[in-house]
């Protein structure tokens, strides 16, 4: 009887403990509040993809990508934003090497949920994706995702001429430079 009571108490503690991360995540999401009027009124620079439903709660990666492709920001900022998303992805998905990233399509799929955690970082239809599901720059060209090592991705935008590996390319090294 005494053992059963102890088991019950232990089970209760475990159940409560398992709810803590969920509660914490909920608090983080709700504490952010709705997007600012400026953010809400901003036209997406990339017309591809359907609009995200207003009831949608943005993920942390979506928040990192807020202002992506905003013409009022320098284009390199877009790559910095994607790089932050990538850093977040690799810090959370510890065994990401099981879903190796060899290029844009792999990274895009991983962020949409094809990863060991089965977690969605960016939803289908997010403006950073083209119609065929690739990560694109503000000019609509697919980003060149170049894995130097499995967690170290060089990002390249083809730039205004939309041709990769030309002089107007924008490049973000894994080091952040």
């Amino acid at each position: 009887m005494k053992i059963n009571r102890r088991l019950f108490v232990l089970g209760l503690i475990l159940a409560l403990a398992s709810l803590v991360p969920l509660a914490w995540m909920f608090l983080i999401v709700t504490s952010k509040g709705p997007p600012s009027p400026r953010e809400a009124s901003r036209e997406p620079a990339i017309p591809d993809g359907p609009p995200i439903p207003t009831s949608h709660i943005p993920t942390a990666s979506e928040r990192l990508l807020e202002g992506y492709a905003d013409p009022s920001t320098p284009p390199i900022e877009d790559l910095k934003k994607v790089q932050r998303v990538v850093a977040g992805y690799f810090s959370v998905v510890k065994d990401a090497s099981r879903f190796p990233i060899g290029g844009n399509a792999d990274l895009a799929a991983a962020l949409r949920g094809e990863n060991p955690n089965r977690e969605t970082y960016l939803p289908e239809g997010h403006p950073v994706f083209s119609k065929d599901g690739l990560l694109i720059d503000r000019w609509g060209s697919p980003l060149v995702v170049h894995p130097e090592a499995w967690t170290q991705l060089e990002l390249r935008s083809a730039g205004p001429d939309k041709i990769a590996y030309t002089s107007d390319d924008l490049v973000m090294k894994p080091s952040g430079k």
């Binding site: 090497s97 099981r98 190796p100 990233i101 060899g102 290029g103 399509a105 792999d106 060149v144 170049h146 894995p147 130097e148 090592a149 499995w150 170290q152 990769a164 590996y165």
Partner: protein, 481 residues
Amino acid sequence: MNRRRFLGEASCAAIGSTSVLSTLLNLTMANHAAAQGGFGTQRKTLVCVFLSGGCDTFNLLVPTGAGYSEYAAARSNLAIPQAQLRTLTGTNFGLHPSCSKLAEMFNGTGSFVGKKRVSMLANVGTLIEPIPSKTAYLNGSVALPKALFSHRDQIEQWQTSVPQGMQVLSGWGGRAADIIHSTLNTEQTGGFYMPMNFSVAGNSAFQIGQSEGQFVITGSGALAFTGSTGDSASLQAKQSVIEQTVESPIEQHYSNLFQRTHGRITANSMARGEEFQQHFSSPGTLNGQDVNTVVANAPFPNHWISAQFRAAVKTIAIRQQLKLMRQTMFIDFGGWDHHAELLENHASMLAILDGALYAFQLCLETLGLANDVITFTASDFGRTLRSNGQGTDHAWSGNQIVMGGPVAGGLIRGSFPSLVIEGNDDVGRGGRIFPKLSADQYFCELLRWFGVTAGDMDEVLPNIRNFYDPYSSSNPVGFLA
């Protein structure tokens, strides 16, 4: 005895017993090798030519005849016209148009009449275990190499041959040296020590072992501690000061075994560098030919990579003076990461590789070293079959070149894959071919020739038994005669 003293003494005892055990182990291995009696007096060298960046080898070895249409469809704007391919006699394949000399060595024509020195390996890559089908890959029912498709990880895996990753990095050439150096390089006695692993391309994982390392040289020979070498009084004085600086504090001040060992290693490397340089600068004659003249006259392309090949010839030529029955060489030719302008850049780089391999083999033939040296290529990965518009992206399996007198030339070994995009051999994303021949099988055949016994093969290639029984009487691939 207090705890600290016990631990201290136990550590010393451990070091002492390790040394004794190593000696005993080496004696045992020597007896084992002598009992096998198969190594004789032949000196042997393995030369690794690493094509860093991921060479697009599906445009190096191309199917002809009925297979060409499949290739052309997959490669679209990157396809090489069939009429331009270099014929590989007796096969349904051709080489890239830039590889006329490799074709000559494959076919046994031109300067190599009657001497077929090149074979090709098809569809080889890093594997932990065989992949029976594309489905097995997709449903995750087989163990896969860690972090496929990335440069650094795949370079490391080709050089370690442990694609699941390692806690402490060591290369298969280094692990082979751990076993072979003390058992086969038995001419080194009386305190003479020269490492067996030479790199002309800086440090690489390939040649790092537990006890053996690599000796890094440049196209001009050994790296000098003083920054330059020479006999002038000032340089000798400089050298002397450096040596004293390194050696004297060790004996006088440091009781720590590891500090002392480190200092001795530093001093020894200086001595080894001098010893090596002396022979490298004056390699003398072989087979009645002056080594320096043969190297200078060889048709090496006008490219920086040729300096590495020239240094390799000379390092092999002085193996007797270095008292080496076995040695490995590491050459790195980088720049194959052709995401753009593949057709132009690939063609020019393959022409350089073609010319360098040809000149290197010519030197070995002239100096009477051809039967003692096997040169083999490796690369990060193969590339996607599908064009990204201007180039190709990171993939997995590829094709490799094996060259030398012991090679059963004129063969294409391995199983050439289907090149249909999204076909049975493509695991996705535009033509990523999965390997049917493992890098372990490839290396095992080289190591058997080199002198690693069946009993030691697991130590050098931990995954080999997933593909091949090292005690088998036949070679794992069959590219050696």
